[in-house]
Symmetry: C2
Subunit: 282 residues, 2 copies
Amino acid sequence: MTLENISCQKSYGGWHKRYRHSSKVLGCDMVFAVYLPPQAEQGEKLPVLYWLSGLTCTDENFMQKAGAQRLAAELGLIIVAPDTSPRGEQVPGDPDGAWDFGLGAGFYLNAIQQPWARNYQMHDYVVHELPALIEEHFPASDLRSISGHSMGGHGALVCALRNPGRYRSVSAFSPISNPMDCPWGEKAFSRYLGEDRAQWREWDASVLLAEADECPPLLVDQGDRDDFLEKQLKPEALEQAARKGGHGLTLRLQPGYDHSYYFIASFIDEHLRHHAVALGRV
Amino acid sequence: MTLENISCQKSYGGWHKRYRHSSKVLGCDMVFAVYLPPQAEQGEKLPVLYWLSGLTCTDENFMQKAGAQRLAAELGLIIVAPDTSPRGEQVPGDPDGAWDFGLGAGFYLNAIQQPWARNYQMHDYVVHELPALIEEHFPASDLRSISGHSMGGHGALVCALRNPGRYRSVSAFSPISNPMDCPWGEKAFSRYLGEDRAQWREWDASVLLAEADECPPLLVDQGDRDDFLEKQLKPEALEQAARKGGHGLTLRLQPGYDHSYYFIASFIDEHLRHHAVALGRV
């Protein structure tokens, strides 16, 4: 498969690069970003942290605003940031032009309802197609971890829980913890998956965690002044699920923090260290 | 003078806040951002680093992309980021709608040609009006340093050189080092200042540095893959001026780096430490 490099910028001794490629899984062209730390030029295969962004984002938000490159360069972690949905004129978006469904809002699941199912297969893209590309074209080992924010926090948790053994660690900022039971999730799931709620359970982090046999080391940070906390995010559901399933969960309610990248930047180093331990980099 | 708080976000234990106020000097409403480190809540007056952004920027670019808050929180530095020009419907912009003059491109000088002179007094705003506001409304001491990027690097150098004793230290990323002798500077100076080049000399960092009696500790970083390096930035002029004036200058050509915030983020910690030493915080 061909990768077209569309930008290349030096960052903390390593490189921030953006690529365009044709995705078979999604049926469209996609852009992703990769941060290659300085160690990537020394011949060693490095572990990869996948970052899943939230509603309305692209590959750019995290790379521009989280400040993750500083410590990733020190730890020798590759970071990959995919887009948040399939893109392109042929990809259907929200019929009303809303920002919480369709383009920029793929919810990292495999849609089963048309017209969405044709392109919206973000789970398979993020879990399989993209890592295969990364491991073929970059000095990346098959040691993977995954993290994300909001819709991407939901995505990271679901990717890790649906694919035991594929990720060494998982973390999330302000995840949509129980999408079956919040407006964002209900809107997205009812369209992508249809009205049968049994299907929804396959893509709900709290349901999956409660029933999982295993879960990699799991860290969640949530700001207590997040405007979406009570109505959309519901970290208490994740806490109950971890208890029910007998899984370890470090859930931290961070006083004063909101839903923005200022919050993410404030704690990204701790998330990188969490992953670096699991990936054998510290 | 009244400050209207328009946002407030916790960041590394401190606060990123944005304010709107009516500027007498500029004859319009202005927005600025301030980062208050955690020490600001402990009653101590803290020194302030002023950051001047480049062409097309507002108060937001640096705060979102440079990653300065992490170390500012550790060092106890307040950071203030003004906008890059006067704003508002009554403020004239570039007649052709260009991005390198007028709105977003005030060049941190005091214009003397109409219609610009009425609003474009960014030097007095940045050096006098804004610090007076900051020192009145925030736990800020009168210890000041100044830094900036590109047009803002020019601005930082000129503010420091025109106002001996006012700043403890100065630094710049990719500054427009010799605006009298580059297309961006020639366009801006000929309009803001008129055709008399004697006026231009008052706002050219290389001219001022060569003739200055004193200069605070001065650090400049420049990427060697910066697309604007040869035509617009010309750091060699600054180097010659420092030699001619007998001033210390740490000028570093950073291999592989471009003109972006990825470059700034990679070296912002070293700039903060440069200022923190001069400001008595390390």
